[in-house]
Symmetry: C2
Subunit: 605 residues, 2 copies
């Protein structure tokens, strides 16, 4: 069975040495509380992830969820683990103190989330989906809705879901058929009757909690066509009674569970709404904006899933590579006392391990940086908010899509390191691959993230937000280039940072003539952007490591490994930008040339 | 449920228009038979694959195999399908006429194999493993062994297996512990007692046939250490009686079935040999050479699995992309009569589809070309044999590893095109991914293939075999460059073909100083080689298409699609060589720098 140790040393490196979280927290209102509790949260979170969640991960995969007589049963131990999570006060840590939250910065919740995603992704999605619901209610709900629903979600007594997708539409939510009609006594009740079918609803039904709060997209009567006519509703599984406690059953049931490739421990439900009572969240027909509040948080959350799975796959692949004896090193025996050398001596095995290590640690730096931006947008001083929001918007699709793409690659390297054993369920490595596979799909596929990045976040503002970020990189390069030892990193980073702007300009120009050029370039553009972004963080980490090594440190091996990993990233992973730089400019014509009918002529007779 | 149509049009394009199979067959002894039956084999094979095997594929995945009271049961319908296969005479088509075979060229069996791999990979492995066993017996068995075992395998009444891997060793077969002791009455019996445990034995046990013929690696008493001391034995499940029919049960049993990520329909067995009677195949301690006879055929077979899975994934992704309505094209509505445009209008969906199409059709060309080399090595005229053998040896690891790596990528694109539905079992797309995952591992991982290519097949003969192939490409480029219309293909192909040699030289020089440079470069080198090799075939296919289009053809759309796909390959996939060219030269130092202990310092406290 796979094991997992929370990488506390590296988390502290990123928080304290790379990103100066203490100073960051000090800049936030009540930030001193965060500084004070950070260590306790890291350590208690680690215990929970390692001792409670990790042992349940493979059980969850093997047992899955079942639906019987209208009741969804989750795998053994999941409910007890959830109760421990609630008892520990974890659901509340980053939430609003007005509704029972602890008011700590969101970044602390995101650090905790990495641990949960590594330990047990399927379990993590039960409390995880609540975060989206809390976020939507916090930003768009009335005080009354918050009082009733947000308090219970923060307490963890209820969980939340996001009900968007329908059988015929996922990406294109303007097509939804779910309808919301005002109640007969709307004037007094403010209630709506919601009817329709939603699919792929993660944590859609279960018995972990006494109630479930669905955030549901639906159309009001006479709503405009398309995405400008969708509204967001809160629809509880049980209607609260006058004291706010669980009352009458509402008209929402789990119709069936999906059989799926991975995340078996999470209940992925078809949810049928049949005249279910719901309440509007935000303005009529403005549901898309409210939804994006949930969605942006969820997208970063999925990026964390990708990175968390790399970390746990790496740890287990490393253990195997140290243990498994097979062949001698090409340059001569390394372990003469053994029947063969441990496979970690082979350069190609190291290439795979270092790929995992570089993406996990680089991804962690990117995510924790993004977490600081979330803090700044939510609670920071006004003067920095606009730029933080711009860069956060830019990085969100990169965090989501890039880290899940390399997450899938890296968990597959984990399987590859184990050879045939990687394919065997008992080793647990293939579960990480199956679980990782969904992360490239849900909350918007990689293709959708790429359109969001290139179309919405960059070209729509003529690259202004991108320039905020590339200027930051440029400034860093100018300063770091003062140090001779940094040239190996700063030279390629400077060139790529410039090329990033040039490529953007070229695609922007092409898109002015033909809008299809955006879709033709977008995924390659996103991947390119991801590699450059990670290079920025790896350069900074290399700089810290070099300084520590130059000064002398009792942790020489740790910093040397950091520097070696940075070099690996620049030598072996960053050159992938060469291909993307070429293919993103290949243009739309080559993709659009073929007649739709001609795609099948090789096999349709 | 996924569907599958055998791409007969494209198979005929490759066989007749690209590779001139009729002339090739005419050059072989009794080749006119092959010409005559080709169409019937394609058409009957297609019926069998489409109507018998395809409907059983998802059933096989869902039911898997079971072991109860020592009996392995395969999924419903598998046994009946196997009987139809035997009744159709399929096991015999490429086999030796002296032992009941039809004596047709191996290439015809390989064409048929593509169909089987697309239709039902797990089922295909039951007869598929027999091919390795037949090949080993054909080349290394005594006349007596052939008479007893080969005849039954050719008839299909018995199937075969390859028993190599043990719990502690897979790649490093020199470490095997299975022992073979001469019988008490060895002088008369020629028999050995075989004892040991083999794992990961595909089709290791089942009730499809009355007997199973295991080809087993074991060590004789006083065998030299390592891989120079292994011998190959034939060990039947039931010992043949004096009439050659099934007699007494032998000491070999299935200890357990592996639970695995995919290929659920195939029984992957732990096989326990307990004083089982076996007979030597080939010379004592020369088992490795005999094993490689099986292994090379098996490796090409695995490459076909990779390509076959791309094809079926493509066909189903295409059907979905034509059907699914989601968003409007960025350049404006394409299907105003519908609620949204079919997703095939979106450039990024086309990019994914064309990636599948280009790898499937390019892979087919490569495999069928390899199949001709197999024919030439097995049955061709003496003067061409040496070069055919050299190029076949060179291409075998490329076929195996490159086509399974891009096969895994492409089946994943198939999932991606379906979005969330791709993750749902009922759609069948995720099964192709899980089934494809094993192909990167078994019969030697990608890393092992890469070492075979760069170390054994290239550097060990100072690049002589590679030069045979690059000269062939060079000649082709010189001739095709006469046509202006071909410049878009010939210019990059010429450059890459030259670069291939240059890169090989550089790595060879580096490896003379440090042998670890081979392992450090090998996988990137293999992938680079695969892209260049496929470019060679795509250029030739583009040339044929251009000529047909220039002359005028009733199949304009087919040839235009071929040309468009060639362009896509050159514009979007071939630029991946840019990255590999850089990373393969990054050197071993960056991989070997890190102390083994330092790999874990981020999480080990």
């Amino acid at each position: 069975m796979p094991t997992y140790k929370v990488p506390l040393r590296d988390m502290r490196f990123v928080m304290n040495e790379l990103l100066n979280f203490p100073a960051h927290y000090a800049s936030l209102p009540n930030g001193e509380d965060a500084v004070e509790v950070t260590d306790a949260i890291l350590e208690e979170g680690a215990k929970f992830a390692e001792n409670v969640l990790t042992p349940l991960n493979q059980i969850g995969d093997q047992q899955g969820c079942t639906l019987k007589d209208g009741v969804v049963t989750v795998p053994e131990g999941f409910k007890e683990a959830y109760q421990q999570y609630v008892d520990g006060g974890w659901p509340a840590i980053s939430q609003n103190t007005d509704y029972g939250g602890q008011g700590l910065p969101h970044s602390l919740g995101m650090v905790l989330n990495e641990m949960i995603c590594s330990a047990n992704l399927s379990w993590g999605m039960y409390p995880g989906l609540s975060h989206g619901a809390m976020s939507a209610l916090e930003h768009h709900g009335t005080k009354e809705l918050k009082q009733i629903y947000l308090t219970k979600l923060i307490e963890g007594r209820w969980t939340g879901t996001m009900c968007l997708t329908e059988p015929h539409c996922g990406t294109d939510l303007g097509l939804i058929k779910t309808r919301a009609l005002p109640d007969a006594d709307f004037e007094t009740s403010n209630g709506y009757n919601i009817s329709g079918t939603k699919i792929f609803i993660s944590a859609g039904d279960h018995e972990l909690t006494e109630n479930i709060v669905h955030l549901v997209l639906a159309k009001l009567p006479d709503a405009p066509e398309g995405s400008q006519g969708i509204s967001l509703f809160v629809v509880p599984k049980f209607l609260p009674d006058t004291s706010g406690e669980v009352g009458q059953r509402n008209g929402v049931v789990c119709g069936s569970l999906e059989n799926k490739m991975g995340i078996h421990g999470n209940s992925t439900c078809v949810m049928n709404f049949d005249n279910a009572t719901g309440y509007l969240v935000g303005q009529p027909n403005k549901g898309l904006a409210a939804m994006f509040t949930m969605m942006n948080a969820a997208r970063i959350g999925v990026g964390i899933q990708g990175q968390g799975l790399i970390e746990v796959s790496y740890q287990n692949a490393l253990a195997y590579a140290r243990d498994r004896l097979q062949m001698r090193a090409l340059s001569g025996t390394k372990a003469p006392e053994k029947a063969a050398d441990p496979i970690i001596v082979h350069p190609d095995v190291r290439r795979m391990l270092l790929t995992q290590k570089a993406f996990s640690e680089g991804g962690r730096a990117l995510i924790f940086y993004t977490a600081q931006l979330v803090d700044n947008v939510e609670k920071g001083a006004d003067e920095g908010k606009k730029e933080a929001d711009a860069i956060l918007g830019l990085l969100t699709p990169i965090v989501k899509a890039f880290l899940t793409e390399v997450g899938f690659e890296s968990t597959n390297e984990g399987v590859q390191i184990l050879g045939g054993h990687g394919f065997i369920q008992a080793w647990g490595m293939e579960q990480f691959v199956r679980d990782a596979r969904i992360t490239r799909l849900y909350e918007g596929t990689t293709g959708i993230q790429a359109l969001d990045l290139l179309g919405r976040k960059i070209l729509m503002n003529q690259g202004e937000h991108l320039r905020s970020f590339t200027k930051q990189i440029h400034k860093y390069c100018q300063s770091a280039s003062q140090q001779e030892a940094m040239h190996e990193f700063i030279k390629p980073l400077t060139e790529l940072n410039k090329e990033w702007g040039d490529l953007t300009m070229k695609i922007g120009m092409a898109a002015m003539k033909n809008r299809e050029e955006v879709g033709a370039a977008s995924v390659d553009y996103l991947m390119y952007s991801g590699y450059v972004t990670l290079a920025y963080f790896w350069a900074q980490m290399a700089e810290i490591a070099q300084q520590k090594l130059a000064k002398g440190t009792s942790e020489h091996a740790f910093y040397q490994a950091k520097l070696d990993t940075a070099r690996f990233y620049f030598q072996r992973l960053l050159p992938r930008t060469k291909t993307y730089a070429a293919t993103m400019l290949a243009g739309a014509d080559g993709l659009l040339a073929m007649d739709e009918a001609a795609f099948g002529l090789a096999f349709e007779v």
